[in-house]
Symmetry: C2
Subunit: 210 residues, 2 copies
DNA sequence: GTCTATAATTAGATAGAC
DNA sequence: GTCTATCTAATTATAGAC
């Protein structure tokens, strides 16, 4: 559960893998705030402090840049949401589920760009969504779905449609961070405080677990 | 609870108020699918089968067209989600809350463009969000917030942060219809069937009410 | 590999014919 | 009021200098 990603990339020697990460994070920031159509490669380049021609040299098209950024996003999620260490710690089934719910809320708070990109592409539909569904979302849901079903068997979760439950859990967890600007505008609440994040995690646990 | 909006607009004589509604609905469709930046006035005009110059004559700018469409959207929601008739019917407090939850899920299924526009603007932030927050969202939340709090007092809802609960309830209800394309791509499920809608409403009631 | 110049598209806005 | 033509600005994509 690193608050900052592990310091050493897996490329060979320490040298230079970092610029790639800076660029992809810049791409995630801009794509997530503006949507694919509203984002411009030039703005991403400016934010990452590289020349826009350089981006085209490495990624060729706006579309391939987007795919590289999304792949980076989901790979980072897999690293940060890896619960195997917690599972090995002798927690009970219920404690493990509670741990998973809390860690997911913290992940959503730490990386609001994830939900923002996923939601915007899901709304837009089309080729990018199909690609993201096939290469990334299906992998995650293929693990979470059966896990939730086993929790239902054990009486830890209400027995309801598992698709409804997965999306309900995900969107409920993401909501305040996905919509932080609206919540600030309407209610004056700052959802980025540790206090709010932990309170929201507790709310999710209280409402979903039995 | 009309599935189709009431047939008679409030303009004078039967004559012509309908073209306006057709245009605004076309605007909602395009803005909700493409986002403000990705939508083009020309595409909206084509979808409504009017000339794009004509739109500019009536609404001047893309921004003013968007505001007119959003105002139409929230006014329609106020009409369709009016629970006063149900309240007068002698339902218990719990039945009334359950009725409200189910009606809201049905509204989300009927008008997925509402959540899509609200979410996209909330992600984007900026002047349009501020305007929508001040003129529309605050009105709705100003009614729902105290209502949920009174339900908490009566033990109908869990006692949690009311802002968390409102967004959790809204996003959980909207989720399948907001993300219908993703759910179809990942799980092959059609969320537009009456069966799914009623099942999802039941899930919301089961998880939130006590 | 990096940066600049330019072509080709597209969209918002404007003007004016009808 | 409606429709067409045009202006202007921004963007993706490409070519080529360095």
């Amino acid at each position: 559960m690193p608050a900052t990603p592990s310091a050493r990339p897996r490329g060979r020697a320490g040298h230079l893998e970092r610029p790639r990460e800076v660029l992809l994070q810049a791409a995630l920031d801009v794509f997530s705030r503006k949507g694919f159509a509203g984002a411009s490669v030039r703005e991403i380049a400016a934010r990452a402090k590289v020349n826009h021609g350089s981006i085209r040299y490495h990624y060729e098209t706006k579309d391939k840049l987007w795919r590289a950024a999304v792949t980076f996003l989901f790979e980072r999620q897999a690293r940060e949401m890896d619960v195997s260490t917690a599972a090995a710690q002798g927690l009970s089934e219920r404690e493990l589920l509670e741990h998973f719910c809390r860690e997911y809320v913290r992940y959503c708070a730490r990386h609001p760009e994830h939900a923002r990109i996923a939601v915007q592409e899901s709304i837009a539909g089309g080729a990018r969504l199909e690609w993201m569904a096939e290469h990334h979302i299906r992998v995650v849901h293929g693990a979470v779905g059966p896990y939730f079903e086993s929790c239902m068997e054990r009486g830890l979760l209400a027995k309801v449609n598992v698709v409804s439950l997965m999306y309900l859990h995900a969107m409920a967890s993401q909501a305040p961070f996905l919509l932080s600007a609206e919540i600030h505008a309407v209610h004056g609440v700052d959802v980025t405080s540790d206090e709010f994040i932990e309170q929201h995690a507790q709310t999710i646990v209280d409402l979903l677990l039995r």
